[in-house]
Each structure stands twice: as structure tokens, then as C-alpha cells.
Symmetry: C2
Subunit: 330 residues, 2 copies
């Protein structure tokens, strides 16, 4: 069947307004209908290898579940970028420190299934810990330099856990393209670096942060916030807006901007700054002056909940602005 | 074309004695003739992706070049196991310590080309350091427990360098099957563990050690040996034979066997034992008693040249004897 054939005579459930196949149609005809739940790595690999052999492009959105609109936006991009859209749903213990919220991390698989099906996901890959880290497991993947700052200091096991599980997921799902949110900006840069360094033949797409109407970055951890804390959580996005205004008015000195950002956040009750730093996006090292592509990254405890957010400065506007210069693909 | 068609009417250059396609024929018809030299990772990936899309099975033999009969035997197995045989030839600086023989490591690319072509290699992947580790490179892959003994003690950077470069080569060449020699037994076990732990969808085949007529394990480093040292190099294989006789006569106590092995080696001039240990093949931890599948592993300096060799005890005889029990493929 020619996927371009307009067999129902016009735009509809089957075609979108631009005359492309709708996600419903793509899913129905290219992947065979119902959303599948796959829990075994070997079964997922067989499925993906089959898709690849038939020339289908696989898009992967790696998640820890408890979906919000931010996840769904990543899936919608994945739906456009792939013939077959796989969402992995796995709360990865390797990226939590013993003191962190692994057990408390919110989970609701039934709700997640419904939401994923609603945006046209073909497969949810949902393994358990025994499938991912069987007895005798002893391998890790680590990106060095760029993980030594920011969350790499506050959460020493975090990035190693993320790069290891993503390597596993990439080998299991065999995607052509993976979609990550830029809310976890250091994670996004780290994955790009890993993909480049290890010659993974995968396109990494970064999506802008999805926000609540008042500006709060969406996060599964927002459910932890009390009503009072929810108000204080706005300190992150509001202080980033403030920094944006300073930048737009010509301020380039990092210390000046950060001083005002820190004072702004400290003005809200229940807040405790973990870090507020301005870094070069290629190296994730602190800069004294914003010159080129930089990120202002925030991690703030609001009550007991650790929230992160960030704002980019000087991002290349032309398509093809590259994060890393050296060889290989990005 | 049906690869089983006997179009030239009998065994010949085109068919081997068992009526299978000869390596020459396979290469001619399945991969298109002349051996190719590919130096760019991106070009290798395009080639391999094309092969995979056409349903061809890719076999990879990773090497550091300076081929001897041991390498050629690995390639012959690769030739049988794959429709397309890729040999990577790269002296990986990341697996040499600053004090080791990286610069002196023997190289002869023209000779290697001729030898590879002779056994039906389709592609030599031969990148340079800039292609493999461009500026900004900062990622590594590490297998923990089983690399903490034997060569992991003598050569602290070695296994991390090997697992990292193999991960890169696997992503570049995209093999279905990889062939390793069991002379580097700990390396072979480490690669199996990494492939299993990281869900790499690759079959790992281990080949028995190829030996000179007098028993010396073939190694590119044998060229370093003076005539006198060459005689002392026999201490490794001869002491392994002695250990085999002890085992066959019922001896199971590791200390008893190792004492005799060490004394035997010490009886040769120019020898200095780096290690002589008996380990469980799954954990690479020392055993007191040989019970199940174990390896006697030797590393001996003969003059300035460090040689390794090993002998297995209690290897499962049935096909499908598995090195690791836990999930995933091996």
C-alpha cells in the first residue's frame, strides 16, 4: 500500500490538514492497529528488528511514566518523526541515590496507557527491574566532563544511571530517532554527547519545556507540592523570566544575573537553592560572561521537592546550529 | 539469486567441498566483489545499514592488525557465520597505559590487506585516532566485577579501553555476530558480559587459541622475542599442559596446580610471572578448588615482552553450555 494514497478522498481521521497521514492512520496501517505493551527486551528487539527490516523508522520517547502534557508533547513529536512510535516506561533505580525518591516516585500505569494510546503510541516498552538488571549485572556507561557540574554534583549517581539505562533502551528499541525534553537540559546534552562519542546511529531531538499556564515547568514531581509550595514553585520560571529581561536589556555578566535570580528565588517561602549557574552548553562549565550559547540552570528545593528548570541564551537560530563541533553525527 | 544454486556444476572456487558457497563466491555475489577499505565511521554505518536492510548477516572480527594465523582463523569463522565479513583494524590507544607498547605495537597495513583479502574479507574498517576519539570525546563503557582480577590488576586501563572501543565498533559496523579469540580469555568474558548487560543484539563467538607447531600461542607480540626468549616463551603452553595432566589425573586443588605451574615457568630463563591464577569463568574470581568451569590464566614477561595464555577446565561439553545464567541473550 502506498502510504501517500488518499483513499478516503480528503482530510479526515486518516489524513491531517496538511495532507499527511494522521498519526491514527500511520499507526493503523504501518504498525498494525492496537497499542502493544511489551515487557521483554528480547521481544522488543524482535519487534524493532522487524520494523527496521520493513524500512520503518522507529521513534523512541524514553520516560519514567506518570505522564503529563510535557510527555505527551514529546510523543506527538515522536509520532511525526517515526513510522513506529515506541515509548519506554521504566522508573530506573540506577539513577536514584539511596536517599532519593525512588519508592515514592509517582506511578499510574493504567492512566499512562490511556494517555499514550490517545496520542497514537504504537508500543509501550515496560520492563521490570529483573528484566533490566538481572543478577550478575555489572556494566555501566559514563560521560565524564559535562556531568561533573550542576546535577552531577547534587546527584552523584544520576547521570551514570541515565546514560546506562538509555544505552540499554537504545539497544533494545533500536530507534532511528529519540526525543528528549530540554527541561532536563544537562541530561539532554549528556545523551547527545554519549550518542556522538559512542557512534550510536541515532538522531537526538530536544523539545522545549512544556509549562503550566502560569509558567511552572511540567514535571511528574509537581504532584508532591502542597498548595503553598505550588505557589513558591513559580520562583523558578519567574526568576528565569527576570534573567531573560536582564539579558535582553544587554546584561552579560553571569554573577550579576545570578545574584538577582538567587535573591528573587529566596523571596519565596519554602525555597532552598540547590544550584543556580550559567554554563556553556558544550562543556557545562560555568561562564563568567554570557558569550555564545549558554544555559541558566536552576535546581531548587521547594519544601522537600527538588525542581529543576532552565533558560537558554544565545542559542543559534539557524537550523543546524550544532552543539558539538567534533566529527560524527549529532 | 538463490545462494544454494550450483551454477558451475560442482565444487570449485565457487563451492567448497561440503557443497556450501565458498568464501570467494559469497563475497563476489553477496557483497559485490573487491575488498573495500573504509576509514570513516559514517560511511561504515551507511554500508552496514544497507547490508542489514538487504537481509545480509554481518560478521565482525575486531583486530589491532599485524595479522597472524590466529587472526585469519577468526576471519575464516566470520566468513562462515556472515554474508558480509568486516574486519576492523585499529590499534586502540585507550587500552594502552602510558608505560605500555602503543608506539612500538607492530603494524603492516599492506601485508594485512593482502592476508585479509586471501581469506575473503569484504571490508576492512580502518579508522584513525581522530575519527575514533575526536576532540571533546569524554565517554566510556566499563564492566566492573570480572575486570577486577588478572589483567585488570596488571593493566588498569585495559578493559575500560577495550569495552569502550568495542561498543563504538559495534555501533559503527552493526554486526549480527562478532568473533573473538579465547587467548584473551578475560577480554572474551568481559565482552560477553557487556553485550548481555547492555542488551546489545549481537552473538559473541569465542574461538580456540591458534598455536605454533611447538605450542606457543600466536600473538602479534611474539615478534618482539629474541631467539632465546622465543624458547622461554614455551614455558606458558608447556606449564598449561602440565596443569592439564594434573587435572586429568584427578588433581582439583588450585594451589597445588599453581605451585607446580609457577615452578615450571621459573625454570626457564628470562621469565617473570605477572600472574598465574585459576578463576571461575563467570566471575573471574580465584577459586580454591576446580569445581565446574574454570580457567587457568597466565601472564608472563619473557624479557620485556608480556605474553598471556590460558587453559580451560570443566568446560560444558554440550552445545549451549552458557557462561552467564541470567536473562538476555549470550
Amino acid at each position: 500500500m502506498d502510504p501517500a494514497t488518499d483513499w478516503d478522498g480528503g482530510t479526515s481521521k486518516f489524513m491531517d490538514a496538511e495532507g499527511s497521514l494522521s498519526s491514527y492512520t500511520k499507526r493503523l496501517f504501518l504498525c498494525g492497529g492496537e497499542m502493544r505493551i511489551i515487557r521483554s527486551a528480547a521481544e522488543m528487539q524482535r519487534f524493532s528488528e522487524g520494523e527496521r527490516c520493513r524500512g520503518r523508522r522507529i521513534a523512541l520517547v524514553p520516560t519514567m511514566g506518570y505522564f503529563h502534557e510535557g510527555h505527551l508533547n514529546l510523543m506527538r513529536i515522536g509520532r511525526k518523526r517515526g513510522d513506529c512510535l515506541v515509548v519506554s516506561l521504566y522508573v530506573n533505580p540506577a539513577q536514584f541515590a539511596p536517599t532519593e525518591d525512588l519508592d515514592a516516585y509517582p506511578r499510574d500505569f493504567e492512566r499512562d496507557q490511556t494517555l499514550a494510546e490517545g496520542v497514537g503510541v504504537d508500543v509501550i516498552f515496560h520492563p521490570d527491574n529483573r528484566e533490566m538488571y538481572p543478577e550478575g549485572y555489572q556494566t555501566h556507561v559514563e560521560v565524564e566532563g559535562i556531568t561533573n557540574n550542576l546535577c552531577g554534583i547534587s546527584r552523584p549517581r544520576f547521570f551514570r544511571g541515565v546514560t546506562t539505562v538509555c544505552t540499554k533502551l537504545f539497544h533494545i528499541v533500536k530507534p532511528h530517532v529519540v526525543i528528549f525534553g530540554k527541561k532536563d537540559f544537562q541530561q539532554y546534552v549528556t545523551i547527545r554527547r554519549m550518542v556522538l562519542d559512542l557512534n550510536m546511529d541515532i538522531e537526538v531531538v530536544g523539545m522545549d519545556t512544556t509549562r503550566e499556564p502560569d509558567g511552572l515547568a511540567m514535571s511528574s514531581r509537581n504532584v508532591y507540592l502542597s498548595p503553598d509550595e505550588r505557589k513558591s514553585a513559580l520562583s523558578l520560571s519567574r526568576s528565569l523570566d527576570l534573567a531573560g529581561e536582564l539579558y535582553d536589556s544587554g546584561e552579560r555578566d553571569a554573577a550579576t544575573i545570578l545574584e538577582k535570580v538567587r535573591a528573587w528565588i529566596a523571596g519565596y517561602p519554602h525555597t532552598q537553592i540547590d544550584y543556580a549557574q550559567i554554563c556553556d552548553v558544550k562543556t557545562m562549565k560555568d561562564v563568567e560572561r554570557i558569550d555564545g550559547w549558554c544555559v541558566l540552570a536552576l535546581a531548587v528545593r521547594v519544601g522537600k521537592t527538588r525542581l529543576i528548570d532552565n533558560r537558554l541564551f544565545g542559542e543559534p537560530t539557524e537550523a543546524g546550529g550544532r552543539m558539538f563541533e567534533a566529527g560524527g553525527r549529532e
